[in-house]
């Protein structure tokens, strides 16, 4: 089952006189439960591609279908809603709402979707346990280490069972121990929940753990290797 279909997508910026082809004709498919790393030097189009996948940006041409739905056909408010239900995000930093506890942060999407209290609590507990932070449920982000914050972010991203999770350099700010812990957890969840994880990363540790590695250069796919 194809979760994501990218069909000949281009993203061209022409704000200055120079035309910047951030994404220059990419066609890719992603399936369920994939664990993918997208690599490439700065300026290769990684972040842009991720933004397009997440519906945060619109392709200049081409289509992006998620579960068969063309993102460009959605209206702005529908897009936001779609994102909320179907896509999970883990950013490099600033993932969490500073005034909420870990538990509240994880619950946030669920309460926006109006889940019942019982369902929310159950799922939250489940997720926090899965990332090993059930003991820190009532702490605010400021009281947690970088690694712990990122783990909560993962739990939050998975809360409403999205179709896939986009992670933009999630380990960039972490020390090796935290980074490893985080990746192990993400792999475990990928295995258990069967949710697709797509990383944009420089981090070799991430690349090492990925099942599929896509290399970009100048907005084009250069290599697409499936390991294992």
């Amino acid at each position: 089952m194809k979760v994501i279909e990218i069909k000949n997508v281009h993203k061209i910026y022409s704000e200055t006189e120079i035309e910047v082809r951030a994404v220059d004709g990419i066609t890719l498919d992603f399936h369920e439960a994939e664990f993918v790393a997208i690599v490439g030097p700065s300026g290769s189009g990684k972040t842009t591609l991720l933004n397009l996948l997440g519906g945060l940006d619109i392709p200049t041409s081409g289509q992006i279908l998620i579960d068969g739905i063309d993102l460009s056909k959605l209206k702005s408010s529908e897009l936001i809603d779609f994102r909320m239900r179907n896509i999970g995000f883990v950013f490099q930093a600033y993932n969490l709402i500073p005034v909420l506890t870990a538990k509240e942060n994880v619950e946030f999407i669920m309460s926006l979707q109006k889940w019942s209290r019982k369902d929310r609590d159950e799922r939250t507990f489940e997720l926090l346990k899965a990332v090993g932070l059930e003991g820190r449920a009532n702490s605010r982000p400021a009281k947690m280490s970088g690694g712990q914050q990122q783990r909560v972010a993962v739990a939050r991203a998975l809360a409403s069972r999205p179709k896939f999770v986009l992670a933009d350099e999630p380990t960039a700010n972490l020390d090796s121990k935290s980074a490893t812990t985080l990746l192990e957890i993400m792999e475990k969840l990928n295995h258990e929940e069967k949710i697709t994880f797509i990383f944009s990363t420089h981090d070799p540790r991430v690349v090492k753990m990925a099942h599929r590695v896509i290399t970009l250069e100048d907005g084009k796919v250069v290599t697409d290797d499936i390991r294992e």
Partner: protein, 475 residues
């Protein structure tokens, strides 16, 4: 959920929020308290007017007010009385004879309005008997074979009936009020001297005291030296029913003091029978019938009821007799609203600034929220609620403090002695007992919430304009 987050966001930067909240509290407090002070002035004036001067409803002969001719009487008083008494809401009625005349002593004379009243009935309607100055006699108390009259302090002063003497008792009164003995010694040369007017007395001690002492103590000194020999006589002259000049000597049975100089100077009260005899008006003849009602709010309704029942006569409520009074009450609401709006506008600016900073320092966070699925409406509401919370917390604090201060000052009042002359000339007391209707608080709260909402518009728009892509871009 959004509301919870908004509330918590307010407290992220405690210092900043507290500055805005304190400003709001101060502004609201000042606005509410000032209005309470001014409002009390008006409330007191209306209260005096109704309870001392006019009562609620007056019934006159149609031509009486335009031409105070003694002939313009109410032709059938008993039917008027029965109509009034039958009307629900009316608790007391009385009738008066009113003639214009001149009050004089050997020294001075001045025009007055002589009211012939039913002494007992009037007590149920007017509180004038309570305004008697202690020591000047009584409200028609003593039995005497003389004609008696009850006059106001202003009139008594004008007719030079009031003297100022620094008797030993006066001096001990001054001491008791805490005036320093040095000042009292300076006043020595005046002791025992009798001054027939306020001005002459003031002039006399003007040279004996420093300006500062005068400002502080002149009121106390005058109060203490105030002297009146009970039983002074004045002459009232007026026209009788046949338009002949007539009059008689009247013994002043008591002097009243209200806050209204005009009323004190113009109105004198005599028992109606004395006036009947002198004017030759028959029994059961009145110029005016007065009705007091239980609930002031029903004034208009009851007045028109009575008016319909008495088509040949002029029926007026106090609001119609002194429209500027009624208007004052309305004006108060408007002035308050304007003053509060100005203060809130000034505060709004501070709130906009604060919210703007709060939004701009959270660009990444807001971008993230937009990315994970918080739609525009929710982001806007979040900002709006933050703004409202800032306003409300300060507003409630301000109102609470205002209420507390009002409660405290309402007991002892604020005495603006310095301005009493000017204010009492218009009928306003210079001793304020701040009071405010609960409605003011409701109006204020609504205004505060509106301020919060309006202040949030610009910052919220800025928040919405953020592009999540740029907002979360890592550097």
């Amino acid at each position: 959920m959004i509301i919870e987050i908004a509330w918590k966001n307010v407290w992220r930067n405690k210092t900043r929020s507290l500055v805005v909240i304190t400003a709001m509290a101060i502004g609201v407090f000042a606005g509410v308290f000032t209005m309470a002070a001014i409002n009390s002035s008006v409330v007191q004036r209306i209260d005096s007017a109704v309870n001392e001067e006019l009562s609620h409803i007056q019934v006159n002969n149609k031509d009486f007010r335009s031409s105070s001719d003694i002939q313009n009487i109410i032709s059938d008083p008993s039917s008027v009385f029965s109509v009034c008494e039958k009307t629900s809401g009316v608790v007391a009625t009385t009738g008066r004879i009113i003639v214009r005349g001149i009050a004089s002593t050997s020294a001075k004379s001045t025009g007055v309005e002589i009211n012939g009243i039913d002494v007992e009935k009037e007590k149920k309607i007017f509180k004038l008997s309570d305004k008697l100055i202690q020591g000047t006699g009584s409200y028609f108390g003593s039995d005497t074979k003389f004609n008696t009259v009850f006059i106001g302090e202003k009139l008594a002063k004008e007719l030079n009936i009031i003297r100022y003497i620094l008797t030993p008792e006066a001096i001990s009164k001054i001491e008791a009020e805490g005036v320093p003995s040095a000042v009292i010694t300076n006043l020595e040369p005046l002791s025992g001297q009798r001054f027939i007017s306020d001005k002459k007395f003031s002039k006399a001690f003007e040279n004996l005291l420093t300006k500062a002492d005068r400002q502080k103590y002149s009121m106390i000194i005058k109060e203490a030296a105030w002297s009146y020999r009970p039983g002074s006589k004045i002459i009232l002259s007026f026209l009788d029913i046949d338009s002949n000049q007539t009059g008689a000597a009247f013994r002043v049975c008591g002097i009243f003091r209200t806050n209204n100089d005009m009323f004190e100077g113009m109105s004198v009260f005599v028992p109606v029978n004395e006036l009947r005899t002198l004017t030759g008006m028959g029994e059961n003849r009145f110029h005016r019938i007065i009705a007091k009602i239980e609930d002031n709010d029903l004034t208009d309704k009851i007045t028109s009821e009575i008016r319909t029942a008495l088509p040949g006569l002029e029926v007026l409520s106090w609001k119609e007799i002194q429209p500027d009074l009624a208007m004052m009450a309305d004006m108060m609401q408007q002035i308050y609203a304007i003053f509060m709006v100005i203060i809130l506008a000034a505060l709004a600016f501070g709130i906009v600034n604060t919210m703007l900073m709060a939004v701009l320092e959270r660009t990444r966070e807001l971008g993230m929220l937009a990315a994970i699925g918080m739609n525009r409406k929710k982001i806007f509401s979040m900002i709006m609620f933050e703004s409202i919370f800032l306003s409300i917390v300060g507003g409630i604090a301000g109102m609470a403090v205002a209420e507390a201060v009002i409660a405290v000052t309402a007991k002892n009042g604020i005495n603006l002695m310095k301005y009493s002359e000017g204010m009492e000339a218009f009928g306003y007391s210079a001793h304020l007992y701040p009071t405010i209707e609960p409605q003011f608080f409701i109006t204020t709260t609504i205004l505060i919430v509106i301020t919060g909402i309006i202040s949030s518009i610009y910052p919220a728009r800025k928040a919405l304009k953020l592009n999540p892509v740029e907002a979360i871009r890592t550097e």
